[in-house]
C-alpha cells in the first residue's frame, strides 16, 4: 500500500504538467484522485467531501488556471489546506491554572490509554514535574497491574483503590495529590464504546467530580471511518481539550487525524510512535499532512539526522535534495547514517520516494539495505557522482563486485533517478511558498 498515493500524485502531477495549462476537466480528474487518496488514507467520507469541495473552489479559481505549473499548484493547495485543517501547532499541555493539573485520558478499548498515560508521565517527569498515575480502569483484567508496573518502571507516583467506583478513585487521587503537592495527576480510565450509555455516564461523573483541566481522547491511528462518531460522542460528553493519536509507528496513513480534527475542532496534541515509554512526540500538522498524502515526513527525518549528524552536512543535503543534485554518494552516506538513527521502517517512511526504491514496509529490511549499500560501495567515486557513465560492462562489474545481479544494479539506478527527480520537483514547488518552505526549516 505504502507509496501508492505518492505514485498517484506524481501521476496527476506529470499529467497536468505535460499539458502546461489546466482545464476544468483535468482539475476534476485531479480532484477525483485526491478524493480517492484521502478515502484510502481513512479520512471520513463526509470530511473528504467538504475538503474536496473547498479545494475545488481554490483550484478552479484564479491563479491555478493561468499558472504555468498547475500540477504543483494543485498539490500545493491540497497540502496547504490539509495543514490548515489539521490546526496550529498547539501548546501540548495546558499548564495555566491551579495545581495539580489533572489530565484525564479516555477512549475506545485498546486505543492505547494506559501506555499513553505512562508516556505522558515520562515526558513530564523529565521536566521535573511530580506525577501521580491513577488506575481508574476497574474493568479490564489486570489493567491496574499494567499501570502499576509502568509507574514502577518510571519511578513516579501510583494510586489505586480497590472495591470502589472509578469516580471515587479519581477524587481520592486528586485529594492525595493536593495534599502531597503533586504537579500532575493522570487518570487512566477504562476503554469503552461511545454508545455504551452507562459507561459514558461514568466518564461524565468523573469529570464532574475532579474537573480535569485536560480531557484527552486517545485514538488509535489506524482507525477507519468510525473515528468521527466516536470522537463526537466523547466530545459531547466531556468537551475534550485535545486528542492523542497512537500507533503511528506502523504504516497507517492516519487519515482519522483529519476527520476528528474536522468534526470536533479539537487540537491533536501528541502522537504515539512506538511501544516504549519515550515514544511520544508533539503533533506537527505538516508532518501528518505529508503522511496522509504519502509524501514522506521529510522534516522528522531531517531533524533526526541533525541530532546524529552535524548540522551543516544536513543542510547541504537538503539543499542538494531540493536542487535535484543528490548523488549516489550522498545516498550511500544516508544509508550508512540511517543505520545509526533508529528503527528502519520508521525512518524509511520519512523519505519521500522511499517506496519508489522498493523500500516499502515489507521490504524495509536490512537485507535490502545491505544490498543497496553493497551495490553503491562497488562503484568508483566517479560513477557515484556521474551515474550516466555506467555502461553495460561497468554495471556487470558492479554486480559482480557486490554479489548482486545486473538487474539489481539497473533497478537501483532507475529508482534513484526517479527519486532524485521527484525530490527536485517537490523542492522547486516549495520554493517561494512560505508555508511549504517552512517544512524544511
Amino acid at each position: 500500500m505504502f507509496g501508492t498515493l505518492t505514485a498517484r500524485l506524481e501521476d496527476i502531477f506529470s499529467k497536468l504538467q505535460g499539458k502546461g495549462k489546466l482545464d476544468e476537466k483535468s482539475v476534476r480528474e485531479a480532484l477525483r484522485e485526491i478524493r480517492l487518496a484521502l478515502l484510502e488514507a481513512d479520512v471520513n467520507y463526509r470530511v473528504v467531501k467538504d475538503f474536496v469541495a473547498r479545494i475545488q473552489e481554490s483550484a478552479v479559481g484564479e491563479e491555478v488556471l493561468s499558472s504555468i505549473t498547475p500540477g504543483q499548484q494543485v498539490v500545493g493547495i491540497v497540502y496547504r489546506e490539509l495543514v490548515r485543517l489539521l490546526g496550529d501547532e498547539a501548546e501540548p499541555i495546558l499548564w495555566k491554572g491551579p495545581m495539580p493539573l489533572v489530565i484525564m485520558l479516555v477512549g475506545l478499548q485498546g486505543s492505547g490509554k494506559t501506555t499513553t498515560a505512562a508516556k505522558v508521565a515520562s515526558l513530564l517527569k523529565a521536566r521535573n514535574k511530580k506525577v501521580l498515575l491513577v488506575a481508574a480502569d476497574v474493568y479490564r483484567p489486570a489493567a491496574v497491574d499494567q499501570l502499576r508496573i509502568l509507574a514502577d518502571q518510571l519511578e513516579v507516583g501510583f494510586y489505586r483503590m480497590d472495591d470502589v467506583p472509578p469516580k471515587e478513585i479519581c477524587t481520592g487521587a486528586v485529594e492525595r495529590a493536593t495534599r502531597e503537592i503533586v504537579d500532575v495527576v493522570i487518570l487512566d480510565t477504562a476503554g469503552r464504546l461511545h454508545i455504551n450509555e452507562p459507561m459514558m455516564e461514568e466518564l461524565s461523573g468523573i469529570a464532574a467530580g475532579v474537573k480535569p483541566r485536560e480531557r484527552l481522547l486517545v485514538l488509535d491511528g489506524m482507525t477507519g471511518q468510525d473515528a468521527v462518531r466516536a470522537a463526537q460522542e466523547f466530545d459531547k460528553r466531556l468537551d475534550l481539550t485535545g486528542i492523542i493519536m497512537t500507533k503511528l509507528d506502523g504504516d497507517a496513513r492516519g487519515g482519522a487525524a483529519l476527520s476528528v480534527r474536522a468534526v470536533t475542532g479539537k487540537p491533536i496534541k501528541f502522537i504515539g510512535v512506538g511501544e516504549k515509554l519515550e515514544d511520544l512526540e508533539p503533533f506537527h500538522p505538516s508532518r501528518i499532512a505529508s503522511r496522509i498524502l504519502g509524501m514522506g515526513d521529510v522534516v522528522t527525518l531531517v531533524e533526526k539526522a541533525q541530532e546524529k549528524v552535524d548540522a551543516t552536512k544536513a543542510a547541504t543535503l537538503q539543499k542538494k535534495m531540493r536542487k535535484g543534485e543528490l548523488t549516489l554518494e550522498d545516498f550511500l552516506d544516508q544509508l550508512k547514517q540511517i543505520k545509526t538513527m533508529g528503527s528502519m521502517d520508521q525512518l524509511l517512511k520519512m523519505i519521500p520516494g522511499a517506496s519508489k526504491l522498493g523500500l516499502n514496509a515489507s521490504a524495509a529490511n536490512d537485507h535490502e539495505l545491505v544490498r543497496m549499500e553493497a551495490i553503491i560501495s562497488s562503484m568508483t567515486r566517479e560513477e557515484r557522482r556521474k551515474p550516466y557513465v555506467l555502461n553495460g560492462s561497468r554495471r556487470k562489474r558492479i554486480a559482480r563486485g557486490s554479489g548482486t545481479r545486473v538487474q539489481d544494479v539497473n533497478r537501483l539506478l532507475r529508482e534513484f533517478e526517479a527519486m532524485r527527480k521527484m525530490m527536485k520537483r517537490f523542492g522547486s514547488g516549495m520554493r517561494g511558498k512560505k508555508m511549504l518552505l517552512g517544512q524544511f526549516h
Partner: protein
C-alpha cells in the same frame, strides 16, 4: 446492554429493506442526476462501513449495470442484487478448509496474532471458553512476554474459561513459552492449545521474525502445529487492515480472521477487501467484552449489518 450494529441486527432482513428502501425507491424510479445521487448514497454507506473505495465502486457499477439491463426492477430485487454482490465479493476465491480440533491431531494448536490492542487476549479467552464448553481440555500459552501485566491478564481469562496456563517471566523468549505450552499440553493430555502473542505492528521486521520463530518452534514441539493461525482485527480499523492482513499472512500463512469489537458502531467492512485480495475467511466475531460474547461468522448477517444504518 450495548447494542451496536450486530445487536440491532437481530430484527433481520426486513429492517435493511426499510432503510435502504427510500434510496432504492429513488434508484428504481428516477434517472439522471437523481439516480446518480441515490447511487452515491449507497456508495457512501459502503465506504463508511470501511469496505474501501474499490469494493464500493464495484458494487455501484454492477448496480448501475443491472439497472440498465433490467428495467423496472422491484425493491426486493434491488436489495437482493446488492446483498448478492457483497456476498460475492466476500466469497474467498479459494476457501481454505476450516479446521476443527480433532482427536487425531491433539493437541490442536491455535496461534493468535495481531497489531497492538486489537483484542487478541480477550478473544483468546472467548475461544478458550468456547472449546472448553465443547468438552475440550484447554491449555493457554502466555507468549506475550512484552506488555506490562500481559500474563496477569491472560491468567484471569484462563481461569474464567477453566483452562490451564503456561507462562514464564516477563521478558522471556516468547517462542520458548509457546514451546513449553505445547509440550506441557501434549504431556498432560490437553486437546486444545491457544497461544497468546504480543501485539505488534506488521511493519516491524524484527517483531515479525519473532512471530515466524514462534511458529517454527511450535511446529518442532508438535508436528502439524499450529493447526490454525488467527489474525485478530479490531472492527474499527480502517484500510490499514489490508496491509496488516497481508504482512501477517506472509509470516504465518493465516487460516482466518477473528473480527473483534463489532458491538460498536464500526462495521468492519475492511474484511471485504481482505477476503477479496487474500482469500482469508473470517471465522469469528467478537461482540462484547464478556467471555461468551463470541459468534461464528455468517456472511449473510454480516452483510445485513453492513447495510444497516449507523
Amino acid at each position: 446492554m450495548v447494542t451496536g450494529a450486530f445487536g440491532r441486527l437481530r430484527g433481520g432482513l426486513r429492517r435493511t429493506r426499510e432503510v435502504l428502501g427510500r434510496g432504492l425507491e429513488r434508484l428504481r424510479t428516477t434517472r439522471g442526476a437523481e439516480r446518480e445521487h441515490a447511487l452515491e448514497e449507497l456508495e457512501q454507506r459502503l465506504i463508511e462501513a470501511d469496505v474501501g473505495v474499490e469494493a464500493a465502486v464495484i458494487i455501484r457499477d454492477r448496480l448501475e449495470e443491472y439497472l440498465r439491463t433490467s428495467p423496472g426492477p422491484s425493491l426486493e430485487e434491488l436489495v437482493g442484487v446488492i446483498r448478492k454482490q457483497l456476498l460475492d465479493l466476500m466469497r474467498a476465491p479459494v476457501p481454505p478448509p476450516l479446521a476443527e480440533p480433532e482427536e487425531r491431531v491433539a493437541p490442536y494448536v491455535v496461534l493468535i496474532a495481531g497489531v497492538n490492542g486489537s483484542g487478541k487476549t480477550t478473544s483468546l479467552g472467548k475461544l478458550a471458553r468456547h472449546y472448553a464448553k465443547e468438552g475440550h481440555r484447554v491449555m493457554v500459552g502466555a507468549a506475550d512476554t512484552f506488555r506490562a501485566a500481559a500474563v496477569e491478564q491472560l491468567a484471569i481469562w484462563a481461569q474464567r474459561a477453566g483452562a490451564d496456563l503456561v507462562a514464564q517471566k516477563p521478558g522471556a523468549d516468547p517462542a520458548s513459552v509457546a514451546f513449553d505450552a505445547v509440550t506441557a499440553a501434549k504431556a498432560r493430555g490437553h486437546s486444545v492449545v491457544l497461544l497468546d502473542t504480543a501485539g505488534r505492528q506488521h511493519t516491524k521486521v524484527n517483531l515479525m521474525n519473532e512471530l515466524a520463530k514462534i511458529r517454527r518452534v511450535v511446529n518442532k514441539a508438535h508436528s502439524g502445529a499450529p493447526h490454525e493461525s488467527l489474525l485478530v482485527l479490531d472492527a474499527t480499523v480502517g484500510q490499514n487492515a489490508v496491509s496488516q492482513a497481508r504482512l501477517f499472512h506472509e509470516v504465518l500463512e493465516l487460516d482466518g480472521i477473528f473480527l473483534a469489537k463489532v458491538d460498536g458502531t464500526a462495521k468492519g467492512g475492511v474484511v471485504v477487501p481482505i477476503i477479496r485480495e487474500l482469500g482469508l475467511p473470517v471465522r469469528w466475531l467478537g461482540v462484547g467484552e464478556g467471555i461468551d460474547d463470541i459468534e461464528p461468522f455468517s456472511p449473510e448477517r454480516f452483510v445485513e449489518a453492513m447495510l444497516a444504518p449507523q
